[in-house]
Symmetry: C2
Subunit: 307 residues, 2 copies
């Protein structure tokens, strides 16, 4: 893979940015990587782990002369960062982001960007329950999807360059309309996260009553929820605030179905429950066949030794 970008600036240095930096370095996809994070401690860690070549103490300094700028900050910080870097961006530079919502980010970022900048919103569907600069790894994007939501006037060459980068890091790239992206992600990610947070919250309330039995007996299903509900609180707050309508729409459908199944339980309608559970079993097979999960039981987490 030939070098795609000479100078890359990563704004925000958490799980995604540190994984991108490691992947770009491993695969020779960038000549120089400059990092910025609001926290001095985070910048120091990035230097210590050497996934960036240098750090700057402001976003504006970091993006100076960069050919590619990647916004890896929570959605709630996008507008302020765009406002700061907008006037400094090099003409012809590509600007992208890795946020979990796309329509809001377009609205937050676009007003601050001049026409000579190629702004191409993006979203790699990859992550773990860990966050911060120490949690990144070069393989994070391997065989995962990265959705790009180019705008009407997006330059084809700039789009190709960004596609190449993501494919170089191992991802499959798909283009999508921003609003459609927000709906699909509400189903596959945003609603499930809110549901997991809620269930863990309910259990936490009860576990104070039941002397931590919830923790001890979590292997019966609950622990899978806790992994999702351990995700970064700031990021997820911003996701929900910025994908309100689609998330609330899916949660509405979810509650409707849940009430229907609750009624089946109350009435003792075993056939309805059995039919429903049989149908959902099939969808998992599809996910495994699509290469998006492992078919080893319990994800192969070596169940039994707990480590």
């Amino acid at each position: 893979m030939s070098k795609v970008y000479k100078k890359v600036a990563l704004i925000g240095l958490g799980l995604i940015a540190s994984s991108m930096a490691k992947a770009m370095k491993r695969d020779g996809l960038a000549s120089e990587i400059i990092g910025f994070a609001k926290s001095e401690e985070t910048r120091a860690i990035a230097l210590e782990l050497e996934f960036v070549d240098r750090v700057e103490s402001s976003a504006a300094e970091a993006v100076r002369d960069a050919d590619l700028v990647v916004l890896c900050v929570p959605v709630g910080a996008m507008s302020a960062v765009a406002k700061e870097i907008g006037p400094v961006l090099k003409a012809g530079a590509t600007l992208t982001d890795v946020g979990s919502v796309k329509r809001s980010i377009i609205e937050l970022v676009s007003p601050h960007i001049t026409e000579d900048i190629h702004f191409i919103p993006g979203h790699p569907l990859a992550g773990t329950e860990n966050s911060g600069p120490r949690s990144g790894f070069a393989d994070l994007f391997k065989n995962r999807w990265c959705i790009l939501t180019p705008l009407a006037n997006t330059d084809a060459a700039a789009l190709d360059g960004l596609k190449n980068l993501w494919e170089g890091m191992g991802a499959n790239v798909e283009e999508m309309d921003p609003d459609h992206h927000d709906l699909v992600l509400a189903v596959t990610s945003h609603a499930p996260h809110l549901i997991a947070y809620t269930m863990v919250g309910v259990a936490d309330d009860l576990s104070r009553v039941t002397d931590n039995e919830v923790v001890n007996y979590s292997a019966a299903g609950f622990r899978d929820f806790t992994r999702i509900a351990a995700s970064d609180p700031t990021m997820w707050r911003d996701v929900f605030l910025n994908n309100k309508e689609a998330t609330l729409e899916i949660l509405g459908r979810f509650t409707e179905e849940l009430f229907d199944l609750q009624r089946a339980i109350r009435r003792g309608d075993g056939q309805q429950l059995f039919d429903y559970f049989s149908r959902t079993r099939a969808i998992r097979r599809g996910i495994i066949e699509a290469g998006q999960d492992t078919d080893v039981p319990n994800f192969g987490r070596g169940d039994g030794d707990g480590a």
Copy 2:
């Protein structure tokens, strides 16, 4: 570990029974293991895999002269099996089960059992999304909890014997009141399963509209739900029908909380969301410290290669 039981009969030969048989054989915990399953195919597989010494074509034949009988059938089949084997059980034998609910099973089984039988209900909190006789493995119970819910008149020596067996198979044994068991499991298992089934059902409806995007983009959180929602439909139908009250109680609390968070999203109350998500993050740490899950990201499923 000395041999605990001379003759063990396993009624039902799915994931739990086949795992028990393999663990007992590996650790020399039983001299002879006899199996029965309703399906002839399942019995043939049990013989082929050699985790039983022989099979019988009826439950009554299988339990004859057994020192320990383990009911590993769905809750809905417990009453019929108990009725069939009740008159044949050897005086002084221990009868246990591995069902996910305890109060119902006591009510379903007890009427068919004479006083000279030591009936000690049990529930190993272990399992995977796979089911059937080919899915068992000897390590399934290692470091997992097994809850026993002895009755008022349970014989101490019989209880000790059963405890020894479970500990011999690697489990931690805990005694609990049956109703309390049913409430704790409603929180850690039954409600989470119904919620996962529901969310996967909703996504399945939508995926028919969105051309399988739900499957492709499942890595963003959803795939964890699909694993839970791939569990055995018959078993789970019976769980919900037999732990109605506790499950509906927890689901009621869950919906209350979910509505509260939905309102926070609608109102744009970021602080409430942030505080809630920060609290739930802590509970995962407790589960990892209690040895009930791995702290490797994504359960160590080797994310990126999808296999």
